[in-house]
Symmetry: D2
Subunit: 352 residues, 4 copies
C-alpha cells in the first residue's frame, strides 16, 4: 500500500525561513516527493550552500525559475517569495495545470484594490486572482478542496482569525471593539541582515512596530468582514519579541451578552472547531504558551471572560513558521489533494 | 561641599532582585550611606553569600529585623518584602521617626478594603496606612515631599499609569475603553525556583497569566479613578516575556474627540510631563523599545493615533527593576529629602 | 507490510525533559506503540497534567512503577530516572524478558567500583550490570544488537566521544593531552526549580561548573581507555550556556604526527563513521553550530588542525535531549530490534 | 569637590557599541567633559539619530573627522574605528598634543610586522607606533601613566591575559601547554547587519569560529612572550554565545610543580593583583559567571587545579564592552591623567 507513486512537488523561493521549513516538512511527508527548488539569487547553488547542516540530507540544487519547466515537473508548487513576485509566475503555472500555494500576500485579497493600496503594486492577473481561495482550512476547507490556487494567510492573521472567528461568526461580540495585540518572534522578519533583528539589538528587548498601519490589518479585516457579514474595522498591533519562533495573539472584544461566562465560550469554541484537528482549545483557566506550539502545526487557544468589564479575552498561540506559514500551506495541500488534513505534519511541539 | 554628612539608609529584605538593585543604586548615591541590610531567612549571612560577585564590594552583613534598632540607625528605610510583611514593622519605624519607602503592595491603597479583598490579608495599621502616599512622583510629587510613608507602585502600574495619566487627567478618552496589554521580563517573578521561570521553560516562549484577575488591576484603577474624578474600570493583561528585565505596556483607548492627531497628543504629553525629568516622550512615529530603558530610571513613551478606529495607542517602556521598583523608590526618597529628583540614578540605559 | 503488529514499549520516569522527548519521538516511531508511562511522584496524573500542550495528543496516564506489570506489557522499557533508581528495578525487568534502555548512569560503567566512587551509591546487581552494553551505537553497534540491557551514554560523553574516538582508536593523538571544553544548554539541568537555572539568572550569562570533578569524566575516560587500549585520563570542563538545548564539545589534543593536515583528518573521520548515518562530518573549514543539530538525532563534527601548535581541534554538536538522550536511546532500540538505525528519528534539525 | 575645570575629551567613531559605551561612561565621569563626537558615515547626524533613546540626553552632533580641529578641542581622544583607520589620524593628534587611546588593533603591536601579517595593512607611522603602550593597566600601569598613545587591548586578550599573567610571569606553567577556550556574546561582532548575528540565527545556538586563525592570537602571544621572557605560542579558540554581552575565557595549562593546589594559586593571584582594584579573585571553589561582570569594569577570576591531570584551569569573566573595550580605555585614561584607576567606572554589575 501507500506511496506507489508520490506526488511531485516544488518550491520557488526556498532560501528563506519559510523555504527551509517547507523543505523539512515536505521531506517527511509520506505522499509527496520534493523534486524542485527554485530561486533567482541563489540559482546554481545547492541547498546545503545556504544551510550547511542539510549537506547530504537535501541534495537538490536551486534552479532558475522557469514556470513552464516547473509546471511540467511539479503537480504542486509552493511559492515562498517576497510580495509582488508570485503574481508574475502564477498565471503560467495555473494555466499549465499545477496546483499553486502562494505564501506571499499576492493572492490573499478577494478585492485587489485593497491589495494595491496596502502593498503599492499594480496587478495584471485579475482573472486568475479572482479564483484564489484564502488558505485557512479551519474557515474555508471546502473551497480550498476545490481550488487550484491558494493564497496562504499571513502569520499574524492566522493566529488572529482563529481566535476571533467563532465570536464573529456567531455574533457574540461587538465587532468594532475588537483589538488584537500580537507578539511575534524575530524569524518573522526573515533571514536578512537588518540591524533591528540582530541578537545584540533584539534580545532582552521588546517593542511594537507599524502601529495602526501593518499590512496584515486589511487581511484580517477582510476575513472578519466575511464572517460578520458586514464591513468590520479591527485594531491590530504587532510587537517584536526576543525569541526565534512563535506568535501569541491576545484578542480583546466586548461581548454582546454580558451573561456569557468562560465555560460557555469554551463550549462554543470546541463546537466551532470540532472538525479542525489542528486547533486545540485549552481547559478552563489555562492559557497557551507559544512554546507549546513550536515545532507543530497546532494552534492553541485559551479563553477568558472578565465579568467586571464585559469583555472576552482570547489568546492564540502558533509557530509562526509552521501553522503561520509552511505547515499551513501543507495542510492546504492535504485538503486540495483529498488527504487527511494532518498528513505529514508534526503533531507534538518540540518542547522544551 | 556635599557629603559632609551622608544620610544613613537601610534596606529590609535585601536578598531579592529589588534588594540587589537598591544596594547597587544606593551605593552610588552621592548623598546617602547604606548602613543596614536586614532579612529574616538570610540573617547572619554576608551580602556576598547571596551574590558572590559583590564580595569585597558590599561588605555589610544581613542583620535580623528589629524595627527599633533599624529606626535608631536609619533615617530612611526601604522595605523590599513579600506583601503582608511591611505592614507589621512600618508602624514602629514611623513612630520612631524614620522615613519609610515600602516596595510591596501594603501601602499602595487608600482604601484598605480593596487591599484586603485582593491580597487576602487583614490589617491592623489603618491609621498609619491612611498617611501613606502613592509613590509615583510624576503624579504625586508634592504629597510625596511632605510624607513620611510611601507606598511605592508596582512595576506594571508604573508603566501603565505613566501611559494613561495625561489622557485621563484631561478627559481625552472614554475611560471604560482603556485596555492595558502589558509585557514583562521574568525578573518580575522574583529570585525563586519556580518551574515556569526556568530558562528551559520561559526562554523562546510567551504567554499571558492571571488574565482578568491580576492584583495590579485594582492598583491601576485606584489611580485612574483619582485622575478621572470618578470610578474607572480597566482591562489589564500581563504577559511573561523571554527576557530578564523590562516592561512594555501597550495601552488602547477610544478618543472622545476623533479629530485629535498624533502630534496633538505628543504636545499634550510633553506638556503634562514637562517637570518630570524621567519621562521621555518619543518623537512622532517612534515607538519605545524596553532595551532603551534597561539600566536607567527613565520611562519612554510613544504615542500613536489610529484614525480608522478612533483609538489612541500609547506604549510605555521601563526597566521593571529600576523605574518599576528600586529606582522609583530612590526617586521618591530624593523628593522626600528635597533633593533633585534625578540624584544618584542612572540616566542612560545599559544599551545594548 | 509494516505495522501489522507494533512492538509495545513503555517509559518509566516520563515527567522530565528526557521523558517528554521519548514520548514525542516514540509516538512518531512507525514500529512501536507506546503503551505505558510510569512514575512515582506523578502516578495517577495524566501526561497532560504535566505538559498541558499534550492534552488530547498523549492520553496515557502515569502509572505506579511495578516491574512485573511493566514487563508483562512492554517488550522494551526506557528508564528515565535519577541516578541510583534504575538499578533497583532493572533486574526484575531483565528477568521477565524485557529489553531495557537505561538513560541514567546506573549501567554505563563496566567497573562498578568507578560508579560507586563517583555516584556514591552501593549496588547489589553486579551480575546484571556485567551484561550491560554502553549505548553508543557508533562504537558498540554489534554488542548493542545482541544485548538485553543498555546503559545509554550521558549527553556530554556522547558529544565528547564522537569527537575523540577516531583519534584515539587510530592512535593519532597523545591521549593525555586531550582536553574537552564542553558547553550545554540549561535543559541538561532538568525540569526542576533551581535558582541557577532561572531565566533571570542563566540568560545572558555563562559559566563553568563542576570543574575537574564532573561525573561524566570517568564515563568519558572509560570509553577512551577502551579505544586507546590503555588507561587514559581526560580533562573535562562543562559550561552552562544561555540556551535551552544543544551541546558543543570543543576538543583539543596534540597530534603524534605533526604532518597531518585538516583534510587528512576529515578523510579519516569520514571513513571511521562511514556506516554511522547520524554522524555528519563538516566540509573543510566549516565548524558546526548547535542549532544545526537541534531537533534531530545528528551529531555534526568539524575538524581543524593548527600547524603552529601541532594540535587538532575537533568540535562536535548535538541536541542534548535527542542524540544526547532520548534519540540515542531509540537509536539503540532500533539496533537491538534489528531495524534501520534511523527509523523514526528526525533527520533534519528544527532550524532556525 | 573638584571639577573646577573638567578635561575636554572626544570620541572618533562613536556610532558602534564601543562608541555608545564610551559616551555613556564618559558622561558620568566626574573629571571629564565630552565635547566632541566624530564619524565619517554619520557626520551631520545627532547621536540621537543613531540611538533614539539618547534624545535629550546626549545632545552632541556627529562631526566630520578633522584631526587638527579635534586636537584643538580635546585633551584626550578615544578612537573607536575599524582596524586600519586610527593609524591614519593618530600621528596628527599626537603631534598636536592630544592624548590618544585607540580601541582598534592599530597600536597594540610592538612589532608592526606581526600587525601587517595578521591584519594585511601597510603602515607608515612606525615612529609613532613605537611609542604606543599596550593598554592593560594591570600589567603596564607605569608605562601607561607616562605615555601619550595607548593601544587598548582586544576583548578576548583582556580576559585571556588577566587569567594567564600570574602563571606566566612567575613561571608556574609550561607555556606551550596553554589553551584558551573563549566564549563571547554577539555584541562583540559589532552593530552591523550580518546574517550570523541575527537573533533568529544566533539565539539558542553556539559555535566556534576562526579556529586556529583569530587575529587576537598574536596579540595574546605578544604579551605572553613578554611575561614569560621568551617566545610563546598559544592555542586560542573563540566561540559565539547566544547572549548580548560578556566574555568567559577558560584557560588550561600544565603546572610545572604538580604539588601546587588551588589555594596556593588563589594566594598567588591575590598577591599578583593586590594593586589592581578591577580584578576580583573568586573564593576557593567558586567560578565566575559573566553576568557578574556585566555592566561593570571588573574582571572576575576563578581558579581550579586538577590533581588528576596536573593542570590548572583559570576562568576569567568580563563585560566585553566595558573591561573588554570602553571601560578599560577609560581606566587607561585615568592612569594617564594621574587619577584613581576606578574613577567614573561602574563597580557593581547590572545583575541580574
Amino acid at each position: 500500500m501507500g506511496n506507489l507513486r508520490r506526488v511531485p512537488v516544488g518550491i520557488v523561493g526556498a532560501s528563506g525561513y519559510g523555504g527551509v521549513q517547507l523543505v523539512r516538512l515536505l521531506m517527511d511527508h509520506p505522499e509527496v516527493e520534493l523534486v524542485y527548488l527554485g530561486g533567482e539569487s541563489s540559482a546554481g547553488k545547492t541547498f546545503a550552500d545556504l544551510y550547511p547542516h542539510l549537506g547530504n540530507i537535501v541534495d537538490l540544487k536551486i534552479e532558475a525559475v522557469d514556470p513552464e519547466i516547473i509546471a511540467s515537473r511539479c503537480e504542486v508548487v509552493f511559492l515562498s517569495l517576497p510580495n509582488g513576485l508570485a503574481c508574475q509566475i502564477t498565471p503560467q503555472l495555473i494555466e499549465k495545470g499545477s496546483k499553486v500555494l502562494d505564501l506571499s500576500a499576492d493572492y490573499r485579497f478577494s478585492d485587489l484594490a485593497t491589495y494595491i493600496i496596502w502593498y503599492g503594486t499594480q496587478r495584471s492577473d485579475r482573472s486568475i486572482a479572482a479564483t484564489a481561495v484564502y488558505g485557512l482550512p479551519e474557515l474555508y476547507r471546502d473551497r480550498i478542496a476545490e481550488s487550484q490556487l491558494i493564497g496562504c494567510p499571513g502569520c499574524y492573521p492566522t493566529a488572529s482569525l482563529l481566535a476571533l472567528s467563532p465570536l464573529l461568526k456567531q455574533g457574540l461580540i461587538v465587532p468594532e471593539t475588537a483589538i488584537i495585540d500580537a507578539k511575534s518572534g524575530t524569524s518573522g522578519g526573515g533571514r536578512q541582515g537588518k540591524i533591528n533583528l540582530l541578537l545584540a539589538e533584539a534580545d532582552n528587548s521588546l517593542g511594537a512596530y507599524n502601529v495602526a498601519r501593518h499590512r496584515h490589518t486589511p487581511e484580517i479585516e477582510q476575513i472578519c468582514s466575511d464572517l460578520a457579514g458586514h464591513e468590520v474595522t479591527i485594531q491590530f498591533t504587532p510587537h517584536l519579541i526576543p525569541m526565534v519562533r512563535g506568535i501569541l495573539a491576545t484578542v480583546y472584544a466586548t461581548l454582546r451578552d454580558p451573561g456569557l461566562v468562560r465555560d460557555d465560550l469554551i463550549t462554543i469554541y470546541t463546537a466551532f472547531y470540532r472538525n479542525s484537528p489542528w486547533v486545540k482549545i485549552c481547559h478552563s483557566g489555562t492559557y497557551p504558551q507559544t512554546k507549546w506550539a513550536c515545532g507543530s502545526n497546532a494552534c492553541y487557544i485559551g479563553i477568558e471572560v472578565d465579568p467586571r468589564t464585559g469583555r472576552v479575552i482570547v489568546m492564540s498561540a502558533i509557530d509562526n513558521l509552521i501553522k503561520g506559514q509552511a505547515g499551513q500551506a501543507i495542510q492546504c495541500m492535504n485538503v486540495m489533494l483529498g488527504w487527511d488534513e494532518t498528513l505529514g505534519l508534526p503533531k507534538v511541539g518540540f518542547y522544551p
